[in-house]
């Protein structure tokens, strides 16, 4: 599934390329959010030059209202893409997101499509502290009615953005903050990666590591290091959390017999917990050892670098979890 073309591109620009392609192919696609014209994170920077201020609109700081306004706008035929800037800000708009956008189609008996993309840079960014470091994918996974995308490479970021915008449903697209400045090869022409299809980032035979977002490169690094010790680690990136590619995960664990799930979120009720439970429920007999979850400590993300480091997922944590399944 990965690009072979040599065109190193920043993750954030890959997102923008997906967005650009969607805006070019469908004039109903509009982008709104706070300061999207200048774009502090960068995914919308410069779009207004190509598509005009009418399709790239700055909003007041009224998250609940502009998240909800997209529900009405999408119902009448617009295809809004919303930059929430920082994942934590979803909290301010939670009713409109979880109780309106996610539910209106279902409650109406399927009368309407709601093609909306809500995206944000999420997760820790390096001393962003408690209110700018949240990853809300675990809670949003519980909502039902929101598709959730969380890519780990520039290639996936572009293809999933296009699919998210083309999708007729509300999609939450989470850009793990620290990945924004990473680089990878990305074809210039638009392409779509289907939602709900995971990707094995590295094949292996001894243990399956399911890793999410920014933990994927960490898991890969650990996996490559272990190769030298003769331990063959498979690294599986679900890429979308809703729909979740359960088949791929179960198939992989069926082969390796061992599972580690790495999540960039607080442990309790995390995606790591969900995937672990799903696997043991459906693949218990294939498991040779206790599955291991690697996630944040159950506290807000502290500011000070050594404290933050203590709370978040570090490579040795992944390593130890892998070794535990093998011991």
């Amino acid at each position: 599934m990965n690009a072979t073309i040599e065109r190193p591109t920043y993750f954030i620009n890959a997102m923008k390329e997906g967005l650009h392609a969607a805006m070019a192919e469908d004039e109903r696609v509009v982008v709104i959010g706070e300061d999207v014209d200048r774009s502090v994170i960068g995914a919308t920077r410069g779009l207004s030059a190509d598509f005009g201020r009418d399709r790239v609109r700055n909003t007041p700081i009224s998250e609940a209202t502009f998240v909800g306004a997209c529900v009405g706008a999408a119902a009448v035929g617009l295809r809004p893409v919303v930059d929430l800037m920082v994942g934590s800000f979803f909290y301010v708009a939670m009713d409109q997101l979880a109780d309106q956008a996610a539910k209106l189609r279902y409650m109406s008996g399927g009368q309407v499509d709601l093609p909306i993309v809500y995206f944000a840079a999420t997760g820790p960014s390096g001393s962003g502290a408690a209110q700018h470091s949240e990853n809300l994918h675990p809670m949003l996974m519980n909502v039902a009615g929101l598709k959730i995308v969380m890519p780990s490479t520039p290639y996936d970021a572009k293809g999933l953005m296009l699919s998210a915008i083309r999708d007729p449903n509300p999609v939450v697209y989470l850009q793990d903050f620290v990945l924004g400045g990473t680089k990878g090869n990305v074809p210039e022409a638009p392409y779509a990666i289907p939602l709900g299809v995971g990707d094995i980032k590295k094949h292996g035979t001894d243990v399956t590591v399911v890793a999410i977002g920014a933990t994927v490169p960490k898991a890969l690094k650990v996996a490559r290091a272990l190769e030298k010790d003769g331990i063959s680690v498979e690294v599986l990136d679900p890429r979308t959390l809703v729909p979740l590619d359960k088949g791929l995960i179960l198939e992989s664990v069926g082969r390796t017999g061992r599972l580690v799930v790495v999540d960039s979120a607080r442990l309790t009720c995390s995606a790591a917990s969900e995937i672990t439970a799903m696997v043991v429920e459906n693949g218990f007999d294939t498991l040779k050892a206790a599955p291991q979850r690697v996630a944040w400590e159950d506290v807000p993300v502290p500011f000070s670098p050594p404290l933050e480091k203590r709370v978040l997922v570090q490579e040795p944590d992944i390593l130890n979890a892998i070794l535990k399944t093998l011991s």
């Binding site: 035929g77 409109q96 279902y106 409650m107």
Partner: protein, 339 residues
């Protein structure tokens, strides 16, 4: 079958429109009375909030709308929907949880939706519909249409932050939206003035949004005020706030007697019942010679029959297959690009 407005003989133009407003108010009245009756007999699942006494607001407002205009509604939304042209058959079937309801039984009273009629949904969350209606106004404008959205909400909802946020957004983006606050004097069981500082009609003033307080029991006054606001919005003049002063005859929800106690003075209730918007308008139309008392009675009989028919329709409709519960969460496949 739903009774379609039958024309009083020889009526045309403005007279027909007046008769239609009277008829729609009566339809709401009979529909809601029937719901009260059904609720008491345990025939309706869930919560029911009735609109009795407030009929002139919805009917006056929607009389000023085109079919392609839109509304968002509230937990007390049946009147809005009927006024916007909803079939009481399909509404009743929805309230019964049946497959022929607007939402195939998935929604119920607080989530009735009919997108093709411009009904963007009643809402279980107080204030929840305000951003959504602001958004449909934005969507229509952005897509080059001249449709207007009316956002209905209560006095209680006027204390939700999204009301102010939405007014601000509508003001700066100059959106074709009319905010209609139905001030019935109570937020559940608490008098509005204990919870709500100042006059609601003034709340848009700092944002440059004109406000108008209207007698919500006067259907023509409501229609006229709405018509002014809609014309303004359609012409690109932006949002308006209308505060309709009215009163609900029934409790906040059916069944409140179990705990609510006496929270409204009898004299107040009597006074407002004396200002019945339907009786007043019927009398006016008879006096104006628009229709006769016999016409009025006939309309009432037709509408009463229509409500009975709606109950029959609903009762005859089957419950949805339980497996339908797992459908409609997501639309199936991406539709691909526009071109």
């Amino acid at each position: 079958m739903t009774t379609q407005p039958v024309q009083v003989e020889n009526q045309t133009g403005p007279d027909a429109a007046k008769t239609a407003m009277l008829r729609t108010m009566i339809r709401i009245r009979r529909f809601e009375e029937k719901l009260a009756w059904l609720f008491k007999r345990g025939q309706l699942p869930g919560f029911v909030h009735l609109y009795l006494g407030e009929e002139a607001v919805a009917v006056g407002v929607c009389a000023a709308l085109r079919p392609d205009d839109r509304i968002t509604s509230t937990h007390r939304g049946h009147g809005h929907l009927i006024a916007k042209g909803a079939s009481i058959d399909k509404m009743m079937a929805e309230l019964y949880g049946r497959v022929d309801g607007y939402c195939r039984g998935k929604g119920g009273s607080m989530h009735i939706v009919s997108f093709e009629l411009g009904i963007m949904g009643t809402n279980g969350i107080v204030g929840g519909g305000i951003p959504i209606g602001t958004g449909s106004a934005w969507g229509d404008k952005q897509l080059g249409r001249d449709s207007v959205t009316v956002v209905f909400f209560g006095d209680g909802a006027s204390n939700q932050g999204v009301f102010f946020e939405s007014m601000n957004l509508a003001a700066i983006w100059n959106l074709p939206v009319v905010f209609v606050c139905e001030n019935n004097g109570y937020t559940e069981w608490t008098p509005t003035h204990e919870l709500t500082a100042g006059r609601i009609v003034d709340r848009g003033t700092p944002m440059g949004i004109p406000g108008e307080q209207v007698d919500g029991n006067d259907v023509e006054a409501m229609r006229d005020a709405t018509a002014r606001a809609v014309a303004r919005a359609r012409a690109g003049g932006g949002p308006t706030l209308i505060e309709a002063r009215t009163y609900r005859w029934h409790g906040h929800n059916e069944g409140e007697e179990a705990f609510a106690g006496d929270y409204r003075p009898q004299s107040e209730q009597d006074e407002w019942r004396g200002r019945d918007p339907i009786a007043a308008y019927g009398r006016t139309l008879v006096e104006e010679g628009v229709l006769s008392q016999a016409d009025w009675d006939a309309i009432d009989a037709e509408e009463s029959a229509g409500v009975e028919a709606a109950v029959e329709f609903a009762a005859a409709s089957p419950f949805p297959d339980p497996e339908e519960a797992l459908q409609d969460l997501f639309a199936a496949t991406p539709k691909g690009s526009m071109r």
